[in-house]
Amino acid sequence: MSQKIKGITNPKISLNILTPDEVMQIHTATLEVIESVGVRFPSEKALNILEEHDAKVDRQTMVARIPGHVIEEYLAKAPPTYTLAALDPALDLPLDGNHSFLGTDGCGVEILDAFSGERRRTTKQDVMDVARVADYLDAIAFHWVPISAQDCPPESRSLHELQAVWRVSKKHVQTETIVNEREMVAAIDMAAGLVGGKDALRQRPVLSIMQCTYSPLGQDGGSLEAGLAAAEAGLPVGYMTMASAGSNAPITLAGTLVVGNAEVISALALMQMHAPGCPVYYAAAQTMTDLRTGAYTGGGPEDYLFGAASNVLSDFYKVPLSMGAYATGAKEPDWQAGVDNAFSSFMAVLTMSDMLLGAGLLHGSRILSYEELLMDSEIWSMLESMFKGIEVTPDSLALDVIRSVGQFGSYLAQRHTRQFMRERWMPTLIDRRPYNAWEEKKDGARDWARAKAQDILREYHPIGIVPDQDAEFSRIIAGIEKLD
């Protein structure tokens, strides 16, 4: 099943969400913020690099004020397109501005068990099981670490998670759980071992790296140093803002875009200062703060707008985008999850976000649900169908068959119908049965999704890495654990 990936390409529909002038205003405001307010980089290493590039650095607060022209100069060094490699080259993902790919979400802490339905804390075995299902689904183009391997030691957990995913899948892996240099160096060793060394890894990055910024206007020290190490090794690195309007970003949407943009592009410029020309990407998952609880929400009209707008910004900077779409705040795979994930993915694909994240998690990326993962894949298949748009050709205008059916025939009996019907979308979870058939069991999408997930978990045992590679992973991980 994993031999083919369903990406979306050559979209026939598009959206204008920000005018060029509005994008320029956001860009100008962002540079003003970076230059005058500054961004906090709590890492001596990062601050040294920034200072060498004309930033005004306050060592006490660790805030760097970086001239706007320096940001622009270094962002321009980033490659506009590149390919995310997979262990199986047939599963490579070209980030060329004309493809959208879907990945899983991360990093949840609980899982709804596929068999018992029980909600419980996640383990390394769960990481492996979810990766197996994700490997099976052709909607899923790449893995995030979907859930935390909480039965593994914190200091090496991110590496156990990588091992778990790679054991069962040859798809590209984008990890978001490595947040210090030491684990990053180990992960680079692991990835290099899979492709035949560090030079080969530069050519075929089977691993890409996602780091979070720290809103408002800050970075995390460990994430910066991990990112710098990855950039040096030529692994694609992205920085994700999760600016939340109303709490760690302004309540106005444009203001939230400015704050998040300042965080992301200042981090990407830093990567370019350190390793000019290294592949980087823009990453974002802005949301609204819930004004009653102060919590991160996940879902809602503002999220959908952010999803589309972020891609316009990343296009402006000529780097790919990894967008937190899907990722509903719903507690169950229900109406809310469907609304959220359909709208958010639609808006992100409408602007051709290169990578979309978020399949499979509920409650604002906290709880993994296999049902949700399959339902999200079904939404993806609808998107794929929609973005093909409406083809207008002599065949599709169908004049011949219109003539032959006239007013009294049926198209069901026509060869033209049979010839083109497989181009139409077919559901696997949407219920189109007659009412009576439904009434017999009153079952539906959730039941079918659960049953399908159970089938996959019972029967699908893909192989990622070979035993020697796995043993090498274990050796590298043990090395990290011994250090403590």
């Binding site: 419980r120 914190p154 995390d220 709490s247 760690n248 703060t289 004004l291 991160y296 906290r366």
Partner: protein, 217 residues
Amino acid sequence: MSDELLAQISQSLVDGDPDATFSLTEKALREGLEPLRIIREALMPGMNIVGDYFARGDYFLPDLIIAADGMKRAMELLEPELRARQQALETPGVVVIGTVKGDIHEIGKSLVATMLSANGFKVYDMGVDVPIATFIAKIKETNATLLGLSALLTTTMTMQREVIKTLVAEGLRSQVKVMVGGAPVTRSWAEDIGADGYAEDAMGAVALAKRLVGVRA
């Protein structure tokens, strides 16, 4: 006249105007109103109205936080006056709160601290990336009865367990009730590490704190 002034102080909290709360409180003191009367007849009723509006969904969190800021600024004027009169306000409890070592997430923890203060708790906010020893020392120093531990990362939430272990080792576990919170924290985690409770948001944390110290919410 004094009744009108007290009503104005109250209204300034409802209106979300901390500058006005401050200057009106200053004026009330100048006019010779007793600090305890200002608190009981102006500030507390104002905060209660804000709380009611919030509870019925008309007010949002920023309304609460800005009102709490007005209350705090008024208290900065009133506390020295109370001390001068050797008076004190009753507090439901003394809270030490902070984000655990290795974690720099601040907003959620600070929100809980603000809401606990606004509900009369005496709060010592230790900030972020707080070493275990700092928590322990502050609990000993203040005789705190509540400890709030925040962690936003799956890797740092394990530190909540370490703090609780140290409380036991130091013989402080029976003195303080421990509340844990943060995005990855769940009820099962709280139970696992032997915390006394967890809450998912600031208002939940206030309700939990009141329950833990035996005050009716």
